[in-house]
């Protein structure tokens, strides 16, 4: 995973609340054994008619939205199943950040592990971001300083826990972090009598 520090990106709006992982990556298309190439199935039921023929009216299919890397969605993005195919597909499509007022827990964790930044903003900033994204304007993200800059309306701070931020900024691998605690894990197993029998 490449480190994330600052970047700017074109926006696209999907102003629907409670977008669940069955919409992000319909289960039917997740019968795969790899993580790659899933951008094609992103929002498949909404994005295509028939056999992968794009629906012109779907926001991602508009000409102006091509090359967008920041998605502005409605509240509570990513609810539903725990499938990591959702962030895999969003990242494969080209998204680097999602802006919403809230994210579902499991999705949020999955996104962060895949270098996809969930940006939580308040209702006022969200309304601005949606307007901007309707025009596909460019926003900039500064992760070390936790700021999102919206053209014409300045910067807003966004929250992120210190550990997730460090992992993203320094490209730290979380499995490696856990593995550094190997001795503590073994000690825990001995202390709780839960060693392999």
């Amino acid at each position: 995973m490449d480190p994330i520090t600052t970047f700017s990106g074109k926006t696209v709006a999907l102003p629907i609340a409670n977008i669940d992982t069955d919409q992000i990556t319909p289960a039917l298309f997740t019968k795969v054994t790899v993580k790659t190439g899933l951008g094609r199935i992103l929002f498949a039921h909404w994005r295509y008619q028939g056999d992968f023929v794009p629906k012109p009216e779907f926001p991602l299919n508009r000409p102006g939205a091509q090359g967008a890397t920041v998605l502005v969605s409605g509240d509570n993005f990513g609810c539903g199943s725990s499938r990591e195919h959702a962030p895999w597909a969003l990242v494969d499509y080209g998204f680097r950040a999602i802006i919403s007022t809230s994210f579902a827990d499991i999705f949020r964790g999955n996104a962060l592990k895949n270098g996809l930044l969930p940006i939580v903003v308040d209702a006022a900033a969200h309304a601005e971001a949606l307007k901007i994204a309707e025009q596909h304007e460019t926003v900039s993200v500064d992760l070390p300083n936790q700021t999102l800059t919206l053209p014409g309306c300045g910067s807003v701070k966004f929250p992120i826990d210190a550990f997730s931020k460090k992992c993203l900024v320094e490209g730290i691998d979380q499995l490696g972090y856990i593995m550094k605690h190997e001795q503590a894990v073994s000690a825990f197993e001995r202390a709780t009598n839960s060693e392999e029998s």
């Binding site: 629907i16 609340a17 409670n18 669940d20 069955d22 919409q23 319909p26 289960a27 039917l28 997740t30 019968k31 795969v32 054994t33 790899v34 993580k35 039921h45 509240d75 509570n76 609810c79 539903g80 199943s81 725990s82 499938r83 990591e84 809230s102 579902a104 827990d105 499991i106 964790g109 999955n110 592990k113 895949n114 826990d161 210190a162 550990f163 979380q174 499995l175 972090y177 856990i178 593995m179 605690h181 190997e182 503590a184 894990v185 825990f188 197993e189 709780t192 839960s194 392999e196 029998s197």
Partner: protein, 450 residues
């Protein structure tokens, strides 16, 4: 004096392996359940790093999501499905993990077989690459769904990085009226909280109505905790729990160690919701997420979004009772246990259905038990399809799916757009409501059949 703790806090504190400032804790996992849909990439990750499974003895696998529910010998398995089955078989054999697979007598939906085998136990931390892992909280375990990266973490280290969630007490007093089930209770709770209402929290269901629930019913309630956005749902273990577990294949011999597993008097929860069970009715959903549910005698709320109404082909202000339906699905990790089948059969006995009805038991042992009790005959004589165990039309990955525009009364847990097949319209309800609706070919109130 030690500060009073909640059930969640007791289990959490007992599983913290390491905690550093500004970092999530390293949490020990007692039981890791895996299935074919969310594990292949995790095993590939292990191989790429040259790692082994740290505790194969605490890892248990099944095949459930994509498995055909028609006669297995004759079922045609598409290549994508066959590859998922092949991979989990190979991964389990290469890494020494027990697999209750396609040809096993204990195969079933992962959240059904964990408890059934006695693997799920009070006080444990349990994870699975599946959001309905919350089901196992019914036994007083801390159980939650994880993504595939985390599946890899647990395979490699038996640990997870976790931020401490907040606590949420759901206190249900009174008793459920006749014909109002655990499914109705949890649908009512989710309707009250909304689909994201419990995000970042662990729910603990308490109160006399919860104590009165059987284990099957408690599993139904905990199962759907995730539909309110909760990280997990749990119920303190009691004699009901111990009696249910006693004698199961992997169950503990003694339950003494679990008697203190409850929230202490005076323990503080971050939030509380109180519900009076005696005022509840059977519930049905009308929209495209599980929070969009209402009492069966009600009307579709005026504030329902246009997108949901258009998708569902419904109008604000209309009644759901009498809405014509095409399919009924009785199954899923929410409602596929023996008591669910008995309750549906009690309504269907001696009657004929006016819709396509799939009855899919949660596991092979449940299927056998139902056949011993003659429930399969009740279903068949009523005109239902009696199937092999699996997730089936809960997620529509195995060919069991709705056609575009069809309405289905389903005992599963999600009514998202396309969940049961592209363009399919799901109405979530209890097995009783599903059975009554099957008889009428319309959404019906089961209480008239009891």
């Amino acid at each position: 004096m030690v500060a009073p703790k909640t059930l969640f806090e007791k289990i959490w504190d007992a599983h913290v392996v390491a905690s550093e400032p500004d970092c999530p804790v390293v949490l020990y996992i007692d039981l890791h359940l895996i299935h074919e849909m969310t594990s292949p990439q995790a095993f590939s990750g292990l191989r790429a790093r040259g790692l082994r499974v740290r505790r194969p003895d605490r890892t248990v696998a099944t095949v459930d999501h994509i498995i055909p529910t028609l006669n297995r010998a004759q079922a045609e398995i598409p290549p994508s499905t066959a590859e998922l089955v092949r991979q989990i078989e190979k991964n389990c054999s290469d890494f020494g993990v027990a697999l209750h697979g396609v040809s096993s007598e204990s195969q079933g939906i992962v959240h059904v077989i964990g408890p059934e085998l006695g693997l799920t136990q009070p006080g444990m931390t349990i994870v699975c690459g599946d959001s309905h892992t919350s089901t196992h909280g019914a036994f007083g375990a801390l159980a939650f769904g994880i993504g595939t990266s985390e599946v890899e973490h647990v395979l490699a280290t038996q640990c997870l990085l976790q931020r401490r969630p907040k606590t949420f007490e759901v206190k249900v007093d009174g008793s459920l009226p006749r014909g109002v089930t655990a499914k109705d209770l949890v649908l009512a709770i989710i309707a009250r909280l909304g689909i994201g209402g419990a995000t970042e929290h662990v729910l603990e269901y308490r109160g006399e109505a919860v104590r009165a629930l059987s284990m099957d019913e408690r599993m139904t309630v905990c199962n759907m905790s995730i539909e309110a956005g909760a990280r997990a749902g749990m119920i303190a273990p009691d004699e009901t729990t111990f009696a249910w577990l006693r004698g199961r294949r992997f169950a503990p011999k003694s339950f003494d160690a679990f008697r203190d597993l409850k929230s202490d008097d005076g323990a503080r929860f971050d939030r509380t919701l109180e519900i009076d069970a005696s005022r509840l009715e059977p519930m049905i959903t009308y929209g495209t997420n599980p929070g969009m549910g209402m009492p069966i005698s009600g009307v579709v709320p005026a504030e329902t979004s246009k997108q949901a109404l258009d998708y569902m082909g419904l109008k604000a202000g209309q009644r759901m009772l009498g809405q014509s339906i095409d399919v009924v699905f009785i199954g899923s990790c929410t409602n596929s246990r023996i008591s669910d089948l008995r309750s549906a059969a009690s309504v269907l006995k001696g009657r004929r259905v006016k819709a396509r009805v799939l009855v899919v038991p949660g596991s092979l042992p449940i299927k056998r038990q139902a056949e011993e009790e003659g429930l399969d005959r009740v279903f068949r004589e009523a005109g239902c399809e009696w199937r092999e165990p699996g997730c089936s039309m809960c997620i529509a990955l195995n060919g069991d799916e709705l056609a575009e525009g069809q309405y289905c009364v389903s005992t599963s847990n999600r009514n998202f757009e396309g969940r049961q097949g592209k363009g399919g319209r799901t109405l979530l309800a209890s097995p009783l409501t599903a059975a009554a609706s099957a008889i009428e070919g319309r959404v019906a109130d089961a209480r008239q059949y009891l």
